[in-house]
Protein backbone atom coordinates (compact mmCIF):
# COMPACT_ATOMS: atom_id res chain seq x y z
CA UNK A 1 0.00 0.00 0.00
CA UNK A 2 1.22 3.42 -0.89
CA UNK A 3 0.58 6.68 0.84
CA UNK A 4 -1.21 9.33 -1.04
CA UNK A 5 1.27 12.21 -1.08
CA UNK A 6 -1.42 14.83 -1.07
CA UNK A 7 -3.66 13.31 1.55
CA UNK A 8 -1.12 13.64 4.29
CA UNK A 9 -1.38 17.43 4.34
CA UNK A 10 -4.49 17.01 6.42
CA UNK A 11 -2.16 16.15 9.26
CA UNK A 12 0.03 19.14 8.95
CA UNK A 13 -0.95 22.09 10.95
CA UNK A 14 0.03 25.60 10.18
CA UNK A 15 3.55 26.26 11.36
CA UNK A 16 4.51 29.49 12.94
CA UNK A 17 5.96 31.86 10.44
CA UNK A 18 9.78 31.62 10.41
CA UNK A 19 9.93 35.41 10.18
CA UNK A 20 8.10 35.73 13.44
CA UNK A 21 10.49 33.34 15.15
CA UNK A 22 13.57 35.14 13.94
CA UNK A 23 12.14 38.41 15.09
CA UNK A 24 11.84 37.09 18.60
CA UNK A 25 15.52 36.17 18.80
CA UNK A 26 16.52 39.51 17.38
CA UNK A 27 14.42 41.22 20.01
CA UNK A 28 16.49 39.54 22.69
CA UNK A 29 19.71 40.83 21.11
CA UNK A 30 18.47 44.38 20.75
CA UNK A 31 17.26 44.37 24.31
CA UNK A 32 20.60 43.23 25.65
CA UNK A 33 22.54 45.80 23.67
CA UNK A 34 20.39 48.51 25.12
CA UNK A 35 21.27 47.28 28.58
CA UNK A 36 24.96 47.46 27.85
CA UNK A 37 25.18 51.04 26.61
CA UNK A 38 26.75 52.18 29.87
CA UNK A 39 29.12 49.27 30.02
CA UNK A 40 32.26 51.32 29.41
CA UNK A 41 32.08 53.90 32.12
CA UNK A 42 34.58 52.86 34.78
CA UNK A 43 38.01 53.10 33.20
CA UNK A 44 38.92 56.40 34.90
CA UNK A 45 37.95 54.90 38.24
CA UNK A 46 40.14 51.86 37.71
CA UNK A 47 43.22 53.88 36.80
CA UNK A 48 42.59 56.18 39.77
CA UNK A 49 42.38 53.15 42.02
CA UNK A 50 45.84 51.99 40.94
CA UNK A 51 47.29 55.38 41.87
CA UNK A 52 45.56 55.33 45.24
CA UNK A 53 46.82 51.80 45.91
CA UNK A 54 50.33 53.09 45.23
CA UNK A 55 49.78 56.08 47.49
CA UNK A 56 48.57 53.80 50.28
CA UNK A 57 51.72 51.73 49.90
CA UNK A 58 53.82 54.90 50.13
CA UNK A 59 52.22 55.64 53.51
CA UNK A 60 53.57 52.32 54.76
CA UNK A 61 56.99 52.42 53.14
CA UNK A 62 57.98 56.01 53.93
CA UNK A 63 58.79 57.27 57.41
CA UNK A 64 57.91 60.85 58.35
CA UNK A 65 59.54 62.92 61.09
CA UNK A 66 57.97 62.65 64.53
CA UNK A 67 55.87 65.81 64.25
CA UNK A 68 54.03 64.28 61.30
CA UNK A 69 52.88 61.37 63.46
CA UNK A 70 50.52 63.61 65.38
CA UNK A 71 46.95 64.38 64.46
CA UNK A 72 45.50 63.06 61.24
CA UNK A 73 47.44 61.60 58.39
CA UNK A 74 46.61 64.15 55.72
CA UNK A 75 46.67 63.32 52.04
CA UNK A 76 46.25 66.46 50.01
CA UNK A 77 45.49 66.60 46.32
CA UNK A 78 45.20 69.54 43.97
CA UNK A 79 42.07 69.68 41.84
CA UNK A 80 41.34 65.98 42.10
CA UNK A 81 39.09 64.45 39.43
CA UNK A 82 35.87 62.96 40.78
CA UNK A 83 37.24 59.46 40.13
CA UNK A 84 40.47 60.15 42.02
CA UNK A 85 38.64 61.79 44.90
CA UNK A 86 36.27 58.85 45.21
CA UNK A 87 39.16 56.41 45.38
CA UNK A 88 41.14 58.54 47.82
CA UNK A 89 38.15 58.76 50.10
CA UNK A 90 38.13 54.96 50.47
CA UNK A 91 41.31 55.43 52.51
CA UNK A 92 39.38 57.24 55.22
CA UNK A 93 38.21 53.80 56.34
CA UNK A 94 41.79 52.94 57.17
CA UNK A 95 44.43 54.20 59.58
CA UNK A 96 48.15 54.76 59.46
CA UNK A 97 49.47 53.67 62.82
CA UNK A 98 47.26 55.59 65.20
CA UNK A 99 46.46 58.31 62.69
CA UNK A 100 43.30 58.35 60.68
CA UNK A 101 43.44 59.30 57.03
CA UNK A 102 41.98 62.64 56.00
CA UNK A 103 41.69 63.66 52.36
CA UNK A 104 41.95 67.33 51.42
CA UNK A 105 41.23 68.56 47.91
CA UNK A 106 42.92 71.92 47.36
CA UNK A 107 41.93 74.25 44.58
CA UNK A 108 45.19 76.21 44.55
CA UNK A 109 48.70 76.24 46.01
CA UNK A 110 47.65 78.97 48.43
CA UNK A 111 45.14 76.68 50.10
CA UNK A 112 47.71 74.01 50.93
CA UNK A 113 48.34 73.45 54.62
CA UNK A 114 50.19 70.73 56.51
CA UNK A 115 50.02 67.42 54.68
CA UNK A 116 51.86 64.15 54.97
CA UNK A 117 51.40 63.64 51.25
CA UNK A 118 50.51 66.06 48.48
CA UNK A 119 49.60 64.77 45.05
CA UNK A 120 49.58 67.02 42.00
CA UNK A 121 47.65 65.32 39.18
CA UNK A 122 48.97 65.87 35.65
CA UNK A 123 46.24 68.37 34.84
CA UNK A 124 47.45 70.67 37.64
CA UNK A 125 51.14 70.30 36.93
CA UNK A 126 51.33 73.97 35.96
CA UNK A 127 51.15 74.66 39.70
CA UNK A 128 54.30 72.66 40.47
CA UNK A 129 56.70 75.56 40.98
CA UNK A 130 54.22 77.37 43.20
CA UNK A 131 53.55 74.24 45.23
CA UNK A 132 57.26 73.50 45.70
CA UNK A 133 57.71 77.01 47.00
CA UNK A 134 54.79 76.57 49.37
CA UNK A 135 56.13 73.24 50.66
CA UNK A 136 59.66 74.49 51.22
CA UNK A 137 60.96 73.41 54.62
CA UNK A 138 58.17 70.92 55.25
CA UNK A 139 58.24 67.11 55.27
CA UNK A 140 55.41 66.69 52.82
CA UNK A 141 55.90 63.80 50.41
CA UNK A 142 55.29 65.45 47.04
CA UNK A 143 53.90 63.14 44.37
CA UNK A 144 53.50 64.24 40.76
CA UNK A 145 52.69 62.60 37.45
CA UNK A 146 54.48 64.57 34.78
CA UNK A 147 57.66 63.72 32.90
CA UNK A 148 60.72 65.30 34.49
CA UNK A 149 59.02 66.28 37.77
CA UNK A 150 61.24 63.98 39.84
CA UNK A 151 64.12 66.21 38.88
CA UNK A 152 62.19 69.36 39.63
CA UNK A 153 61.42 68.66 43.26
CA UNK A 154 58.97 65.76 43.46
CA UNK A 155 59.95 62.87 45.70
CA UNK A 156 57.82 60.44 43.73
CA UNK A 157 56.69 60.91 40.15
CA UNK A 158 54.15 58.58 38.56
CA UNK A 159 55.22 57.37 35.16
CA UNK A 160 53.92 54.85 32.66
CA UNK A 161 56.17 51.93 31.86
CA UNK A 162 55.13 49.01 29.64
CA UNK A 163 51.52 50.19 29.64
CA UNK A 164 51.52 50.15 33.45
CA UNK A 165 51.46 52.69 36.18
CA UNK A 166 54.91 52.86 37.78
CA UNK A 167 56.87 55.48 39.69
CA UNK A 168 60.26 57.10 39.88
CA UNK A 169 61.80 58.00 43.21
CA UNK A 170 64.21 60.82 43.94
CA UNK A 171 66.37 60.05 46.98
CA UNK A 172 67.83 63.56 47.26
CA UNK A 173 64.40 65.19 47.26
CA UNK A 174 63.27 62.76 49.97
CA UNK A 175 66.25 63.56 52.11
CA UNK A 176 65.63 67.29 51.75
CA UNK A 177 62.21 66.68 53.31
CA UNK A 178 63.65 64.43 56.04
CA UNK A 179 61.69 61.50 54.70
CA UNK A 180 63.09 58.04 55.26
CA UNK A 181 62.42 55.82 52.26
CA UNK A 182 62.39 52.08 52.96
CA UNK A 183 64.69 49.87 50.95
CA UNK A 184 61.74 47.88 49.61
CA UNK A 185 60.16 51.02 48.13
CA UNK A 186 63.47 51.81 46.48
CA UNK A 187 63.55 48.39 44.84
CA UNK A 188 59.97 48.75 43.67
CA UNK A 189 60.65 52.05 41.92
CA UNK A 190 60.91 51.83 38.14
CA UNK A 191 63.48 54.63 38.25
CA UNK A 192 65.56 55.45 41.31
CA UNK A 193 67.35 58.77 41.24
CA UNK A 194 70.21 58.97 43.74
Amino acid sequence: MAYSPNSHYSFIFVLNSPKRKVKKLLTVISFSLLLSINAFGQFEQSVAKIKVAFIYNFTRLVEWPADYHQGDFVIGVINASPALLTELNTLTQKVSGNQRFVIKNFKSAEEIDKCNILFIPEASNNLLAEVIKKLHGTSTLLITEFEGDAKKGAVINFIVKDNKQAFELNKANAEKCHLNISSSLRTLAAVYIE
Partner: protein, 300 residues
Protein backbone atom coordinates in the same frame (compact mmCIF):
# COMPACT_ATOMS: atom_id res chain seq x y z
CA UNK B 1 -11.04 19.79 -0.02
CA UNK B 2 -8.81 19.14 2.96
CA UNK B 3 -11.49 17.03 4.61
CA UNK B 4 -11.90 14.92 1.50
CA UNK B 5 -8.18 14.27 1.38
CA UNK B 6 -8.14 13.49 5.08
CA UNK B 7 -10.92 10.91 4.77
CA UNK B 8 -9.40 9.44 1.64
CA UNK B 9 -6.06 9.08 3.39
CA UNK B 10 -7.53 7.18 6.29
CA UNK B 11 -9.61 4.98 4.06
CA UNK B 12 -6.56 4.08 2.06
CA UNK B 13 -4.45 3.36 5.10
CA UNK B 14 -7.14 1.44 6.87
CA UNK B 15 -7.86 -0.53 3.73
CA UNK B 16 -4.23 -1.41 3.43
CA UNK B 17 -4.05 -2.75 6.94
CA UNK B 18 -7.22 -4.76 6.68
CA UNK B 19 -6.10 -6.12 3.32
CA UNK B 20 -2.90 -7.35 4.87
CA UNK B 21 -4.79 -8.86 7.77
CA UNK B 22 -2.76 -7.02 10.33
CA UNK B 23 -3.45 -6.47 13.95
CA UNK B 24 -7.02 -5.40 14.56
CA UNK B 25 -5.80 -2.84 17.03
CA UNK B 26 -4.34 -0.89 14.16
CA UNK B 27 -7.67 -0.57 12.48
CA UNK B 28 -9.17 0.56 15.76
CA UNK B 29 -6.42 3.09 16.20
CA UNK B 30 -7.15 4.49 12.74
CA UNK B 31 -10.83 4.61 13.46
CA UNK B 32 -10.20 6.54 16.63
CA UNK B 33 -7.99 9.00 14.83
CA UNK B 34 -10.63 9.44 12.19
CA UNK B 35 -12.98 10.48 14.97
CA UNK B 36 -10.32 12.77 16.42
CA UNK B 37 -9.90 10.59 19.50
CA UNK B 38 -6.16 10.47 19.95
CA UNK B 39 -6.41 9.17 23.52
CA UNK B 40 -8.13 5.97 22.48
CA UNK B 41 -5.97 5.71 19.39
CA UNK B 42 -2.95 5.69 21.65
CA UNK B 43 -4.25 2.69 23.60
CA UNK B 44 -4.83 0.69 20.41
CA UNK B 45 -1.64 1.68 18.66
CA UNK B 46 0.44 0.85 21.73
CA UNK B 47 -1.28 -2.54 21.95
CA UNK B 48 -0.68 -3.09 18.26
CA UNK B 49 2.99 -2.36 18.70
CA UNK B 50 3.37 -5.38 20.95
CA UNK B 51 3.06 -7.50 17.81
CA UNK B 52 6.60 -7.90 16.35
CA UNK B 53 5.29 -8.15 12.79
CA UNK B 54 3.54 -4.83 13.13
CA UNK B 55 6.75 -3.19 14.32
CA UNK B 56 8.30 -3.85 10.93
CA UNK B 57 5.70 -1.76 9.16
CA UNK B 58 6.60 1.84 8.32
CA UNK B 59 2.96 2.95 8.21
CA UNK B 60 2.35 1.68 11.72
CA UNK B 61 5.23 3.71 13.00
CA UNK B 62 3.95 6.69 11.12
CA UNK B 63 0.51 6.27 12.65
CA UNK B 64 1.92 6.04 16.12
CA UNK B 65 4.13 9.06 15.48
CA UNK B 66 1.09 10.97 14.33
CA UNK B 67 -1.02 9.88 17.30
CA UNK B 68 1.68 10.97 19.72
CA UNK B 69 2.09 14.26 17.91
CA UNK B 70 -1.64 14.91 18.41
CA UNK B 71 -1.34 13.96 22.08
CA UNK B 72 1.62 16.27 22.46
CA UNK B 73 -0.44 19.12 21.05
CA UNK B 74 -3.30 18.27 23.34
CA UNK B 75 -1.46 17.69 26.61
CA UNK B 76 2.17 18.72 26.52
CA UNK B 77 2.54 21.60 24.12
CA UNK B 78 3.86 23.70 27.02
CA UNK B 79 6.22 20.99 28.22
CA UNK B 80 9.66 21.57 26.79
CA UNK B 81 10.69 18.01 27.62
CA UNK B 82 7.50 16.43 26.39
CA UNK B 83 7.91 12.67 26.11
CA UNK B 84 4.95 12.57 23.75
CA UNK B 85 6.79 14.81 21.31
CA UNK B 86 10.01 12.83 21.68
CA UNK B 87 8.14 9.61 21.02
CA UNK B 88 6.47 11.13 17.98
CA UNK B 89 9.82 12.23 16.53
CA UNK B 90 11.34 8.86 17.31
CA UNK B 91 8.51 6.94 15.64
CA UNK B 92 8.45 9.11 12.55
CA UNK B 93 12.15 8.59 12.01
CA UNK B 94 11.73 4.84 12.41
CA UNK B 95 8.91 4.96 9.88
CA UNK B 96 11.19 6.74 7.45
CA UNK B 97 14.11 4.42 8.12
CA UNK B 98 12.34 1.11 7.70
CA UNK B 99 10.55 2.24 4.59
CA UNK B 100 13.34 1.23 2.19
CA UNK B 101 11.69 2.96 -0.74
CA UNK B 102 11.35 6.17 1.32
CA UNK B 103 7.95 6.63 -0.23
CA UNK B 104 6.62 7.85 3.07
CA UNK B 105 9.07 10.75 3.08
CA UNK B 106 6.29 12.94 1.76
CA UNK B 107 4.25 12.27 4.87
CA UNK B 108 6.85 11.89 7.61
CA UNK B 109 9.01 14.87 6.73
CA UNK B 110 6.35 17.59 6.95
CA UNK B 111 5.23 16.15 10.31
CA UNK B 112 8.84 16.10 11.50
CA UNK B 113 9.27 19.66 10.24
CA UNK B 114 6.24 20.65 12.26
CA UNK B 115 7.73 19.06 15.40
CA UNK B 116 11.11 20.67 14.67
CA UNK B 117 9.31 24.00 14.40
CA UNK B 118 7.73 23.47 17.81
CA UNK B 119 11.22 22.97 19.26
CA UNK B 120 12.34 26.12 17.51
CA UNK B 121 9.45 28.06 18.94
CA UNK B 122 10.29 26.70 22.38
CA UNK B 123 13.87 27.87 21.89
CA UNK B 124 12.77 31.33 20.83
CA UNK B 125 10.25 31.77 23.62
CA UNK B 126 12.72 30.61 26.28
CA UNK B 127 15.66 32.68 25.08
CA UNK B 128 15.88 34.84 28.15
CA UNK B 129 18.13 35.15 31.15
CA UNK B 130 16.13 32.66 33.21
CA UNK B 131 15.28 29.91 30.75
CA UNK B 132 18.18 30.00 28.32
CA UNK B 133 19.25 26.44 29.19
CA UNK B 134 15.83 25.31 28.07
CA UNK B 135 16.28 27.34 24.89
CA UNK B 136 19.61 25.61 24.22
CA UNK B 137 18.03 22.23 24.75
CA UNK B 138 15.15 23.01 22.41
CA UNK B 139 17.34 24.61 19.76
CA UNK B 140 19.61 21.57 19.69
CA UNK B 141 16.57 19.31 19.36
CA UNK B 142 15.35 21.46 16.47
CA UNK B 143 18.69 21.19 14.73
CA UNK B 144 18.96 17.45 15.36
CA UNK B 145 15.68 16.88 13.55
CA UNK B 146 16.30 19.32 10.73
CA UNK B 147 19.77 17.95 10.03
CA UNK B 148 18.23 14.55 9.27
CA UNK B 149 15.51 15.77 6.98
CA UNK B 150 16.94 18.81 5.31
CA UNK B 151 20.13 20.05 3.74
CA UNK B 152 19.42 23.57 4.96
CA UNK B 153 22.34 25.58 6.26
CA UNK B 154 22.03 26.58 9.92
CA UNK B 155 24.52 29.42 9.79
CA UNK B 156 22.03 32.26 9.87
CA UNK B 157 20.01 30.72 12.70
CA UNK B 158 23.15 29.77 14.61
CA UNK B 159 24.39 33.35 14.44
CA UNK B 160 21.13 34.67 15.82
CA UNK B 161 20.94 32.00 18.47
CA UNK B 162 24.53 32.25 19.71
CA UNK B 163 24.56 36.04 19.57
CA UNK B 164 21.51 36.01 21.80
CA UNK B 165 23.09 33.40 24.07
CA UNK B 166 26.30 35.42 24.28
CA UNK B 167 24.26 38.44 25.32
CA UNK B 168 22.51 36.46 28.03
CA UNK B 169 25.79 35.16 29.46
CA UNK B 170 27.16 38.70 29.22
CA UNK B 171 24.18 39.92 31.24
CA UNK B 172 25.05 37.41 33.95
CA UNK B 173 28.67 38.46 33.72
CA UNK B 174 27.70 42.07 34.39
CA UNK B 175 25.42 41.27 37.28
CA UNK B 176 27.55 38.61 39.00
CA UNK B 177 28.94 40.00 42.26
CA UNK B 178 31.95 37.71 42.53
CA UNK B 179 34.96 37.84 40.27
CA UNK B 180 35.17 34.05 39.95
CA UNK B 181 31.53 33.87 38.89
CA UNK B 182 32.12 36.62 36.35
CA UNK B 183 34.99 34.60 34.92
CA UNK B 184 32.68 31.62 34.46
CA UNK B 185 30.12 33.67 32.55
CA UNK B 186 32.82 35.39 30.53
CA UNK B 187 34.00 31.96 29.39
CA UNK B 188 30.47 30.89 28.50
CA UNK B 189 29.79 34.09 26.57
CA UNK B 190 33.14 33.73 24.85
CA UNK B 191 32.23 30.25 23.65
CA UNK B 192 28.89 31.47 22.33
CA UNK B 193 30.42 34.43 20.49
CA UNK B 194 33.21 32.24 19.15
CA UNK B 195 30.61 30.07 17.47
CA UNK B 196 29.22 33.16 15.77
CA UNK B 197 32.63 34.42 14.69
CA UNK B 198 33.55 31.00 13.32
CA UNK B 199 30.60 31.40 10.94
CA UNK B 200 30.92 35.10 10.32
CA UNK B 201 34.03 36.94 11.56
CA UNK B 202 32.31 40.20 10.62
CA UNK B 203 29.38 39.81 12.98
CA UNK B 204 29.01 43.08 14.86
CA UNK B 205 27.28 41.72 17.96
CA UNK B 206 29.88 39.05 18.61
CA UNK B 207 32.83 41.38 18.05
CA UNK B 208 31.30 44.08 20.18
CA UNK B 209 30.22 41.58 22.83
CA UNK B 210 33.66 40.02 23.17
CA UNK B 211 35.45 43.37 23.20
CA UNK B 212 33.09 44.61 25.87
CA UNK B 213 33.56 41.48 28.00
CA UNK B 214 37.35 41.68 27.98
CA UNK B 215 37.21 45.41 28.66
CA UNK B 216 34.94 44.92 31.65
CA UNK B 217 36.96 42.05 32.99
CA UNK B 218 39.97 44.36 32.87
CA UNK B 219 38.03 46.95 34.88
CA UNK B 220 36.88 44.23 37.28
CA UNK B 221 40.46 43.12 37.95
CA UNK B 222 41.21 46.57 39.30
CA UNK B 223 37.84 47.06 40.98
CA UNK B 224 38.43 43.87 42.97
CA UNK B 225 41.93 44.87 43.97
CA UNK B 226 42.07 45.77 47.67
CA UNK B 227 43.26 49.32 48.12
CA UNK B 228 45.85 48.07 50.61
CA UNK B 229 47.29 45.55 48.16
CA UNK B 230 51.09 45.47 48.15
CA UNK B 231 52.80 46.98 45.12
CA UNK B 232 53.81 43.61 43.56
CA UNK B 233 50.15 42.59 43.77
CA UNK B 234 49.10 45.90 42.21
CA UNK B 235 51.59 45.36 39.40
CA UNK B 236 50.32 41.85 38.81
CA UNK B 237 46.76 43.19 38.56
CA UNK B 238 47.97 45.84 36.14
CA UNK B 239 49.59 43.18 33.96
CA UNK B 240 46.36 41.22 33.82
CA UNK B 241 44.35 44.38 33.19
CA UNK B 242 46.64 45.40 30.32
CA UNK B 243 46.49 41.90 28.86
CA UNK B 244 42.68 41.96 28.89
CA UNK B 245 42.55 45.45 27.42
CA UNK B 246 44.81 44.28 24.60
CA UNK B 247 42.51 41.31 24.03
CA UNK B 248 39.54 43.66 23.91
CA UNK B 249 41.06 46.05 21.36
CA UNK B 250 40.85 44.02 18.13
CA UNK B 251 37.22 43.09 18.77
CA UNK B 252 36.13 46.66 19.52
CA UNK B 253 38.19 47.93 16.63
CA UNK B 254 36.44 45.50 14.31
CA UNK B 255 33.05 46.40 15.77
CA UNK B 256 33.84 50.07 15.16
CA UNK B 257 34.84 49.39 11.55
CA UNK B 258 31.66 47.38 11.02
CA UNK B 259 29.42 50.05 12.54
CA UNK B 260 31.39 53.31 12.40
CA UNK B 261 28.49 55.44 13.58
CA UNK B 262 27.90 53.52 16.78
CA UNK B 263 29.25 55.26 19.86
CA UNK B 264 29.64 52.25 22.17
CA UNK B 265 32.62 50.58 20.44
CA UNK B 266 34.43 53.92 20.35
CA UNK B 267 33.74 54.40 24.04
CA UNK B 268 35.19 50.94 24.65
CA UNK B 269 38.29 51.70 22.61
CA UNK B 270 38.69 54.92 24.57
CA UNK B 271 38.62 52.94 27.83
CA UNK B 272 41.02 50.28 26.58
CA UNK B 273 43.58 52.88 25.57
CA UNK B 274 43.09 54.72 28.85
CA UNK B 275 43.81 51.55 30.79
CA UNK B 276 46.84 50.93 28.58
CA UNK B 277 47.99 54.51 29.32
CA UNK B 278 48.12 55.24 25.60
CA UNK B 279 47.09 58.86 25.89
CA UNK B 280 47.43 59.62 22.18
CA UNK B 281 44.99 56.95 21.06
CA UNK B 282 42.76 57.66 24.03
CA UNK B 283 42.44 61.28 22.89
CA UNK B 284 41.75 60.25 19.28
CA UNK B 285 38.87 58.03 20.37
CA UNK B 286 37.62 60.54 22.89
CA UNK B 287 37.40 63.15 20.13
CA UNK B 288 35.69 60.67 17.85
CA UNK B 289 33.17 59.82 20.55
CA UNK B 290 32.43 63.50 21.01
CA UNK B 291 31.98 64.00 17.25
CA UNK B 292 29.62 61.05 17.03
CA UNK B 293 27.60 62.35 19.96
CA UNK B 294 27.31 65.77 18.34
CA UNK B 295 26.29 64.23 15.02
CA UNK B 296 23.66 62.10 16.70
CA UNK B 297 22.26 64.64 19.10
CA UNK B 298 18.97 66.14 17.91
CA UNK B 299 19.48 69.59 16.38
CA UNK B 300 17.77 72.37 18.25
Amino acid sequence: MKNIRYILFFVLLLGGFIARGQNDNLAKAYNCMQKGNADSARIYIDKAMSDPSVRKDAQTWYLRGFVYKELYKKYESDDIRSELRDTSVHDLFISYRIDSSHENKETTFPTLKYLAATYYNDAASNMDSVHFHVAMFAYNKHKAIMRRISTDNFNKLDIQFYDALGEIYSGYFFSAPLFEVKKKYLDSAHKAYDKVLAINPDDFSANYGLGRLYYNQAVNIITNLPVDAAIPEVNKAQDTCAHLARLSLPYLDKAHKLEPLKIEPVKGLEGDYYMLHDSEKFEVNKDLEEKLRQQQSPKK
